[in-house]
Symmetry: D2
Subunit: 294 residues, 4 copies
């Protein structure tokens, strides 16, 4: 099973109306078109940035179906289907596949800490239920579960359609180990924006980022400089966009990316409470950062 | 606003049928009666042990309504209403109040890390929506959010009906600080089983524990020894039950407590996947621990 | 091998002249007399509070010899002999024994992280070189080495004269485990001042504390309340002295205890740089705390 | 004040006789010649690898004087002068300067945790005492003190001759911040072997490494590939040497580097206890790793 995922993989946000109650699918469509116009190599709906965890099942289905239908194969798609119970993650994975997703992404979300055997069984069960590839996603900061590279490789070897790994711990040595233990055969992806340069240097196949909503050209140029083997240029491009990358991460991706899209004319509403929208000083700072990158 | 909560506050489990799909309310009723027969001073439905996080909204409502109706005021009740969005937590809190809960418990569950202002607003919004007291619950191991004692006291002072604090970090010095900053006026409760003795010694008003499903007499005797100012006896009782307390915590409360109830004749089904039920060696060890305490 | 160590074990400071260059043994003598007058059950020269790590070998020898000679058997003594190399720790342990120490204390000080085998061999080598008991001391905050309770018990079982354990991690559950794995036969001591009450409640044989330089009566009363099985009284005594205990720990024991002794008429000089003496606001706060306890 | 330090900065070991008691200066001379023959851009005597912390003052002086005299200006030198007391670090810094060191390196070694003001004063005092540049060294794993980049920049700005920063936390984002806050004007150096590639990519001026005792050509080629802007080549060279870099770090640099030098014909003796020499399986593994890189 080979993968077609590489380069800049853009995350979508999930737009709501003012009160945060109803979905604004028209706005979602605009933001998807913006991502594609920006040249992303793929799109990942319903990830962390997409507030997937804050949606009801009905809403989740609506966003997934709309996103896939609106992207309509213009770029490959990978839908985040994570949920607390295995049964719900399986249901979402099937739903995504039925609606045309090229792959699904699975974070082992947890309330009760999971054992390695429980995590493995979770991936196995989801993998057995679908026919598209799975990108395993490790992000202890949001999931509460840290998977060692050894465990990740065990899952990759045991579950046939877990073929890609997304790493977001912020520890570049995890990527070294993925490269070493995977012997270069298991493509891995960076999910930690401030490691954008180093991850590519370490051999990452792609960069999963919500920044592509705001600075798609700079993201793309960094990727192209790496492909062109031009370290000096890649370093310059990285440091140029780093303040923006740090800002959107530190401020919370849903809040900052929605605010950034609004600054560029695409109104996306606010994140759902308890998550706050970006406050006025934050919006001013974000506007200045974006202005400096124009 | 005074509290009537003290002593042993027992958690319920949520029984499912064999496949983990449908609720078994009859079994829930039996386990509630068992808790009350065991002499608990209060009951807390739908907590961590109750797999509240793994239920659909419809299921959550069913369990809340049934529990409150079945307890029927025999002991005070405190229902956990935590959810990822403020809107959903508010809805649950109102539902619990309408169905007779004496108080609600709120953990600031989070996917995206919450700022202190976001946490405070979450409690404020819930507090403004109901007329019963709130027990603020701090448990970073499950919620991913660690509230400092200073933040907790700020919430207690600002949100009128946040009148109780449950601490589960496992750091006894947090309870010292609750005692100091609360000047003895803010009742706090222990949610970390292995600190059962020290928490009472530090001044905790109660012990929220799922162990009351299995060893209610020993739990109660420990509390009574503390009330009787008999440290030697309390220490002996604590070390006697500590292996069981450690076992159920380490093995995961839903899995171990369900297994323990089954060992004593009350079939509760299994936890929902990805959480595994207790395996055969675990059940044998649990049986031996319970036997030793008879 | 039985131990005579129990109750309040007071630490000495190491007085210097104004510039921090030369030892002031006369002042040391006065502070030792003060400790003994305060009723301590034992004295521990050259511990962390005693700035043992900041002394030259020659100075260390002088302080050890003077302390033991001045105590002159009025209370049992336990001399901290920790050093980075095994050879130096052995030399100090022998020196302490030759000059009359009843026991020695050993922290596995480390620059390069030590393996469990290296730590065990370190204790074995020291144990083989002397004929007095060793108190193993676990304090990762100063040593950089955290010994699990399992490792500690392995050392206790393998090295004949390691007969006592001092625990300073601040995690009361370590003491539970010492009690459980040692089956009540391995006396353990508390080195974390804010756990004074809980450690005794958990079964600690003694409390190693520099607070005995400043508030020996309150320290002693807490110990006696525990011995008298009076939990209510012990709790009241604990919370009364807790602000002072927290202050001296947070401010750094050498700086705060020297300042506290100066406030009560015993001039001890200042800690050696880079450690700062307590500043004026700190001294005022300390004076107020001490005044409130009079 | 400009720096001449860049590229591969090799650490020396400190050879002892078989029992670990006496220095073997002849062996030290051989290993220095080996480093210079290997093409290092500079040499750093008495660092962590050089067991500086395990030497008596007299031994330290002997090793410093011999090293500087033997290097004799063939490459620039930077001598680690860290010690627990400010007075001793000042003495060593002066001694190093008097014996010809081009710069000194200072780690804020600590027994009692140091405040930021204490750390700053420590550097100020040392800086005021000498006329050569200081490389500030941050390595919380050995020093117990973690300096934030903000604190580091404060020290750099305030202490005139602190002109270089060595970062060993293993967190590449610290280097990003050094680059950003230093505006490219404060040269920083990497002290974490597994980050060799990423540190250069992030803009590090040099790599301080004990690996230059064993694989100087590979170290040098990596540096040259970065200078040549050849990312593909740099990545290949990095992954080629990474297993060796990881092995020597994990096994403890003094033990593994001494064993490695012995394997190549330079007998260096063993580390001082409690640090163990590399055991037989470790030596076999190291031999295989070195063989594979020939």
């Amino acid at each position: 099973m080979t993968t077609t995922f590489h380069g800049i993989i853009g995350y979508t946000v999930t737009p709501f109306d003012a009160g945060g109650e109803t979905l604004d699918l028209a706005a979602l469509g605009h933001s998807i078109d913006r991502l594609i116009d920006g040249g992303v190599q793929a799109i990942a709906p319903l990830g962390s940035t997409g507030e997937g965890a804050y949606l009801s099942d009905r809403e989740w289905d609506e966003v997934a179906a709309f996103s896939l239908s609106h992207i309509a194969g213009r770029v490959p798609t990978i839908v985040s289907v994570s949920d607390l119970t295995t049964a719900s993650a399986v249901r979402r994975a099937r739903y995504a596949q039925e609606h045309g997703a090229d792959a699904v992404m699975v974070l082992p979300a947890a309330y009760w800490k999971l054992s390695e055997a429980e995590i493995l069984a979770h991936y196995q069960r989801i993998g057995d239920s679908i026919g598209v590839p799975i990108m395993l996603y490790n992000n202890p900061a949001t999931s509460g579960t840290d998977m060692s590279v050894e465990l990740i490789m065990r899952i990759v070897r045991q579950v046939e359609n877990v073929t890609m790994v997304k790493e977001s711990t912020g520890d570049i040595q995890r990527m070294h180990k993925l490269q070493q233990l995977g012997e270069g055969q298991v493509p891995f992806y960076n999910g930690c924006n401030p490691l954008a340069l180093e991850a590519f240097v370490a051999g990452a196949a792609g960069w999963c980022t919500a920044a592509a909503n705001l600075i798609p050209d700079l993201n793309q140029q960094l990727y192209q400089a790496v492909l062109a083997n031009d370290l000096v240029q890649a370093r310059a491009l990285f440091y140029r966009q780093l303040p923006l990358l740090e800002f959107i991460l530190k401020g919370g991706l849903p809040a900052t990316v929605k605010a950034g899209l609004a600054l560029t004319g695409l109104e996306m509403g606010e994140p759902r409470l308890p998550v706050f929208p970006l406050d006025a000083p934050g919006r001013a700072r974000l506007a200045a950062l974006l202005e400096a990158l124009r």
